[in-house]
Amino acid sequence: MTVSSEDAGGWRDIGAYLKSAGFRFAALFAVLFLAAMLGFALMLWWGTAGTLSRQIDDAIRADALGLQEAWRTGGVAAVREAIGERLAVDIDDHAIYLLTDEAGLRLAGNLDRWPAMPETPGSWSAEAVRRDGVVVPARLYRLPLDQGHRLLVGRDATDREKLRSLLSEALLWSFAVAVAFALAGAAALRRALADRLRAAAATASAIAAGDLSRRVPLSSQRDEFDQLGASMNAMLDRIDQLMIGIKGVSDSIAHDLRTPIARARMRLENALLSAPDAESLRAAMETTVADLDGISRVFQALLRIVEAEAGARRAAFAPFDLAAVLTDAAEVYGALAEERGLHLQTSWPDRLEMVGDRDMVLQAVANLLDNAVKFTPAGGTIRLSAGTPARGKRHVSVSDEGPGLTPEDRARAGERFFRADPSRALPGAGLGLSLVKAVAALHDGELRLRDARAGAERPGLEARLLLSSRA
């Protein structure tokens, strides 16, 4: 059931065919089906021909025991009498009896002599017996009596043999039909399997050939094959996302970094051409060094964002105390806030255990605090809080008293390099919230933005970072 079995080599094809899962499943089905048929046939045989055989044997044995009793009570005469009685009422004409003395002379019964066939071990045997010139099969039971006398009790087994041959012929034909059905069923099974898998296999081939937009078509059955297809589609969507992310980075780098690079170059060229003295030349160069540092940091930030979005850092997750991280962040930014005349209000429980990337979480919180400090005017308050909003979740919230973001801007806040109008003049590349979003996603969470004081003229922004506390 390979997708491309058009290569040359007949034997190779046959080998592949035999190894294919479809063939093996079909073969398994056929074997099981035939085994079931065989079981059925054996049960039937046992129930019919087998039962008949057992009935005959039981009758013979009962007869023999009865005659043995007669021998014990009355010797030869009693046995002859008993045999005579039995034969007299033997309507079916199936009974066979013979009583001989030690010399082999017939004393009673309807068989003229002891069978000449060699004695098989055990008391039972199957012999040929003549009746009216016709040879018929017989089932015979030998019972040695004392003083050398021997008793033979048996039944004509013609009917039994007829039933046996009838049954075996029927069963043989049934088996042939069963084999045909098994083969047909196996072929149908194999076809069904191939059909179900064809969609997924074809999609995979197309994707391998380069068409990444293809997805596995799903039927309405929602069975295991559809689940496989759905998983493949989810995987492909994720790959799509990652590729868009990477492309986004390349686009951003190409488009948005050209400006600062061009600026730096212009400054240097300008200084080369028209700087009045060495001092201003130095000054231009120093500014350019700072510019280049800035560009370098933007690169770093972009790479961190992509790293976070790709999810690779999940492998390095470790348990840490979120409360400790926030304490540190508050300490680092507290001094800055104080210097700007801002109050930093904090509120969180003593310990907030979680599993994740400590550095990334600090970076996200630092970015949020950075924004809050940047936009809150002197005298204002920044609130930093954290807690457990639900089982398995942690939240970190930063509220400021700046101009806030309009709903439209909020939607675009996570875009790389997006700057809302009020912030265009302020330093920063516009990557801060982008990273926060990426960190949230890395920790199975999200970033929610809303007005800190709804309805006020300057509503401020409340940024709520939600994280999963478990890996």
Binding site: L303, R313, D328, V332, A335, L336, D359, L362
Partner: protein
Amino acid sequence: MQILLVEDDAEVARFVQKGLQEAGHIVEHVANGRDGLFLAAVEPFHLLVLDRMLPGGVDGLRIVETLRSQGNKTPVLFLTALGAVDERVKGLKAGGDDYLVKPFAFAELLARIEALARRPAMEVPATKLTVADLEVDLLSRTVTRGGKRIEVQPREFRLLEHLVRHAGQVVTRTMLLEKVWDYHFDPQTNVIDVHVSRLRQKVDRGFDVPLIHTVRNAGYMIRADA
């Protein structure tokens, strides 16, 4: 100090070598890993500055691993464009002592080199650190200057302690972030400056001689003015 620089980029090598020599160090430079490993094993250096990606089949990581397996404890600073966190971890795990990512500011490189070189001397446990009339008592966690007790918060104490341990050396903002706060992150604004200036208020205000100095484009340094 005798420094071995193993760097295959000629421009970077020239830049670094010139800068370090001007700072008073003797710098030997090779451009491939094999020669670097050989020299490092054979000649005594105070410090090695290694690029990670080197031609010749032997890269920076391998050099350090080999040296460490031979019992060579010379301090190593990686200077490399491989900046991702796991690369940094790889470098430090292999036996490196510090890790600086390109592009870098020369002042940062110099500060870190001198910090590394100073380290062995300071391994001797000290209970008191002194710079001019400033005394930092590590046991009681107190700071006194000219006999007068100065109240500092715990974090400010650690900041001061770090500066004093590297008295006379440049300590960059990144180094402070890493050593005093134990984080690798990039603050958008110069939050560190605010902390240092608060500390400076407490330590230098009211005294004739300022001890904490800002080094332009580099960082900070504590020293008694010569």
